[in-house]
């Protein structure tokens, strides 16, 4: 196993792939979270009946394989002649996918803030947006944090599927190296290790935030 043909430039190639994985994940999580917060608040404000169409639409993103979504998204942008690069398509689809999950997390977290606490805030004269900003947002953020970290880690892993659109992210980069060197197990182990290294800090951050916030509850 230590007798390998793997060179530094191969490793660098894989690191570049990991960079792509991180970039796409970062963009998707940022955009998806923003959209998810907006849609989550909209869902709560509209109530279950009026937001049913939105719920149905978002449910599609969670019930159809991401791979199919990516292919469909790519085909759609071609038909609509958007002329998007695979990178753009990947980011757009992954963002929507993230937003679909994030909306549910945000809705659940807002609903978990006790109605009596919100009523107390309103009774002090705080208006809706002040109640949302000073009471609901901080409490809901705490409740949502573990799920949100889980979502981020999920997107990091699911971003591997963009290789189907020809993107060279971490897994695809590893595959290319494998094809050249014919040492699949060794290279996949390195690839897996890199995924671990990418996820670990995020998971730790989640644990840290949870610990820091919990004594105040």
């Amino acid at each position: 196993m230590f007798d390998t043909a793997l060179t530094t430039s191969d490793l660098l190639f894989m690191a570049k792939g990991a960079g792509m994985t991180l970039a796409v994940t970062g963009i998707a999580v940022a955009a998806g979270t923003l959209l998810g917060i907006v849609l989550g608040v909209v869902r709560v404000q509209l109530g279950p009946v009026w937001s049913a169409p939105l719920t149905f639409l978002l449910d599609i993103f969670r019930s159809v394989p991401l791979l199919i979504q990516l292919v469909l998204g790519n085909a759609f942008q071609a038909i609509a002649q958007f002329g998007w690069e695979p990178f753009t398509t990947s980011c757009v689809i992954l963002s929507l996918y993230t937003a679909a999950y994030c909306t549910e997390i945000v809705r659940g977290a807002i609903d978990a803030v006790p109605a009596t606490t919100r009523r107390a805030a309103r009774s002090l004269g705080l208006n809706w947006s002040q109640d949302m900003g000073y009471i609901v947002a901080p409490l809901a953020a705490r409740i949502a944090m573990p799920s949100w970290i889980g979502l981020t880690l999920g997107v990091l892993k699911d971003s591997s599927l963009i290789l189907w659109l020809g993107m060279i992210e971490l897994l695809r980069a590893s595959q290319i190296v494998i094809t050249r060197l014919q040492e699949p197990l060794f290279i996949l182990m390195i690839c897996g290790l890199i995924y671990f290294l990418l996820s670990f800090p995020i998971a730790r951050l989640g644990g840290y935030l949870e610990k820091r916030w919990s004594p105040n509850d």
Binding site: P114, T116, T117, R119, A120, A121, R122, S123, L124, G125, L126, N127, Q130, Y134, I135, P138, L139, R142, W213, P215, N216, D217
Partner: protein, 240 residues
Amino acid sequence: MIEIENVRKSFGPLEVLKGIDLTVKKGEVLTVIGGSGSGKSTLLTCINGLEPIDSGRILVDGTHVHAKSTDINKLRCKIGIVFQQFNAFPHLTVLENVTLAPRKVKKMSRAEAEEIAIKQLNHVGLGEKRDVYPSRLSGGQQQRMAIARALAMSPDYMLFDEVTSALDPQLVGEVLDTLKMLADDGMTMILVTHEMSFARDVSDRVAFFHQGVMAEIGPPKQIFEDPQNEETRKFLSNVR
């Protein structure tokens, strides 16, 4: 002055307020007693505009609470309310709990708000606890904090909705003492309570609610010693 005129309110098919008429004058302490489901708590949340009403009207110092044109948040600064659940904001310290509304609603500076908050916290005996989070407080302390939080808005009226019902028996006294002190200071108050001896002690008038109707109102001496209404008599003989 709080004027309640023929107020009706239903939750679905259930009519909880069946035409209430009531006037509370400045400086008066009114206690509302009655069984569960008599509508007494609902009336308090209606006065504050937290619940809409179906018909009738409520005027606070001449301002129509449920009118569209009323700035309800401004009006709420005048009317403090404390609930059965303590409703502490768990992510804020005791001091932050109390200063939040003065700063954000009344746009006071932090220093100004803190000065008022500390005064109110000292008033309810929580001066020492200003920097801890509510989770470190006992139920009675949390409830006193909620009172200080409402008082920090310098309201003209205070509404108390069964504020001792969720407390352990040994913690009830400290909260009642705080209420007593407020009453002695001349605050205009409406209290919904199950503490009969307290009601008799602090009230100017006592109202008895029964199934959405104000069955009887009068000075505590009359209500407790010589109730005119059959239902009042039944209720009082049960709680004793």
